[in-house]
Amino acid sequence: MSHELINPKRIFMRRLKVFGLTGLSTLLATLKWVSVIPTDSELVTKFLMVLLFVLTFGWIALFFWSSLFGFFELMRKAKVPGIRWVPADTPLTSKTAVLMPVYNEQPTFVMANLLAMAQDLAKTGQGKAFDIFILSDTTNPKFWVAEEKMWLEAQKLLPPEIKLYYRRRAKNVARKSGNIEDFCNRWGAEYDYMIVLDADSLLAGKTMVKMVQLMQANEHTGIIQAPPQCINKKSWFARMQQFAGKVYGPIVSAGLAYWQVGDSNYWGHNAIIRVKAFMQCCGLPVLKGRKPFGGHILSHDFVEAALISRGGWSAWLLPELKGSYEECPPTMIDFAIRDRRWCQGNMQHMKVLVSKGLHPVSRIHFIIGIMSYLSSPLWLSFLLVGLAIALGREFFPPVYFSETRSLFPDWPIFDKVGTISLFIISMVMLVLPKFMGLIVYYRQEKRASKGALKSTLLEIVCSALTAPIMMMFQSKFVWDIFAGKDSGWNTQNRDDAATSFKTAFSRHIWHTILGVVTTLVVWFYAHELFWWMLPITLGLMLSIPISMLTSQESVGKWFLRHGWFVIPEEVREPKLVADARRFLIKLSSQTSEAGVLDVVKDKKLQATHLLMLPINGPAPEVAAKVLENAQIKLDSFINHGVVPDFEKDEEIALLYTPKILQEAQLALELNAL
């Protein structure tokens, strides 16, 4: 690890402050909690209540103290210590690959972002130091052809000093991590650094240059993560996330950077990695056992950060790096679908967590990731145990006089004031960081809108309503994973399409039923809990309309017009984002839904496809019958004009058979003679 610019004692003190205060506040709150648990509770119930309280309160406390230190860092405009900063005009003496791994993503969208980034890089005058790679794991043949088509189109629009390469894997072994590893195996030795992107990533040219300059100046640095900011989406749900990311995100990032220093995490994209360090340390093993815990590592980023740290390299989260963007899921259901995948990845880390030789901070990263999802079933259990105690009292009234004769009744003691005070403390710890974020936002962001305060207040209400729904989603995910269900690999939805009633009903009906049943049970049998439970039950009961309403783009736009959840990027779009939009419009005139027929009909596209085919690696095995059927369909198109309805594997089989593609093109030309 490289902390030559910072005293290790200072790092230790930072961690001691955050974790010491987390531990101390959890201890004090737990002591109070022990005193407020009804005295007539069973020992097992008491134990469960204390255990669940420690875990859930500790989780909130860590978030609170980390954010508080982040707040102080931002207020005093402190830079992350321990890293050598360099002047902006430092020349680049290295070669960097910008990697865009894609899996069945809209090719026009991906290419528009890449072109905007390439143009922005060229403007820095240091574009020559960068090559861009599209690393495709696309399995949809139509998207595959469209990617090649977009690559060809992009060559006309690309700044001449920047090269844009394309490689598609025939077999997407180990998903994104396997894709990056394949790049490293083939071309890694050629590059000093790689900037890893996601399909929706946008990184400003200046930011990429700065990241490389920092890498050059800090030779023991393995990873630098630029915290991405959510932009571009229009639905109410997405705009709330964008606003939350803009206002609260900085203190969260600064808080993490405060105690992580040079042992930070890697979030899988919008980061620069030293290729040599990555290749030395980050070859991922296949975990023993069956899916979902065994097999290839899904959330590879945390593991790669842990391995690079184990190898003696440092990893930095630098909130100072601006111009790093991504997009968030447009609806609550899309958010949950992404969460399902991430949840499995994080649960899988339970196996990695105890691996030998990992840095303690890397283990904390794993625990934080696991707890992000495990906290939901813990909260749920906590609520259920509390409800069970209240119901138990209704059905089994307290025994005031025990069998042993006594003059005094045995009153069960329930400290209502103590419970309320603990509740208020928990709420303050959850909500206060949001207001601290707002203070920093007003102080640092000149373009901050006046509506930020009202937006924060509404966001808090909305988070309270959606939190129980997400708790139910995540609890089910955790349950499914422990039951052995694999998430599979689905492309994230990036379109602003509203959630239909049918979809919302199928996803939320159980939340609604649970909300209604709990409300009724509490009303009739534990009435004193009714108002306490209402924030939870209300969200669940209204989950269908909440999910539908927040997914609406029109609602999101209404809020925008009336000054709610406005982020500066919506008022004045950054040049990079505007350029990406312009490229998208330009490329959209080229259809993104191509296919094997385009390869047959379009001469340039066929030449492009055949030029690229050997780079894909060996063709996958295809049953003879599949190719035969595909040929019959292609023949009847050529000879009788019957538009073929190719199955996916038929289209793939044809795309892997150059001879048929060439001859089909000739046959079309012959027919035209």
Binding site: Y165, V354, L611, M612, L673
Partner: protein, 129 residues
């Protein structure tokens, strides 16, 4: 493909030349050089190979890639319009080379080794120390 087997050699050559936007005035010359039997298309491709080799001399490209790359560059750069005779003068070839398409750099193979993620042994009998 049954569709082209029933055609005459001249027709096939004409269609082939159309795929690279070359006029059918060259059909007799190309037909004479093409194989009468067997894989006619492959034999026509081979006629492009010398030019393709000059455009893509690197070993990283196999023959099929060189030919496809040549066709792509030729079509994109308007080779047929600029040089209807399909005679590749050195100057023109140099221009083509400047504008050639390169889908990926040369491989520098270096395999990443999977790193051990060993769990500590919990059973006393498995402990080495």
């Amino acid at each position: 493909m049954a569709a082209i087997k029933i055609q005459s050699l001249n027709d096939i050559v004409a269609a082939y030349l159309k795929t690279i936007n070359v006029s059918d005035a060259l059909v007799p010359e190309w037909a004479a050089k093409a194989e009468q039997e067997g894989d006619v298309v492959a034999s026509l491709d081979r006629l492009l190979l010398p030019a393709a080799e000059q455009l893509y001399p690197e070993k990283k490209f196999d023959k099929s890639q060189k030919i496809s790359g040549f066709k792509l560059t030729w079509l994109s750069f308007g080779g047929a319009e600029l040089h209807p005779g399909q005679k590749l003068e050195p100057g023109f070839l140099a221009k083509l080379r400047e504008n050639r398409f390169d889908p990926a750099p040369e491989y520098k193979m270096q395999k990443m080794i999977p790193q051990p993620l060993e769990m500590p042994s919990l059973h006393w009998s498995n402990r080495k120390d």
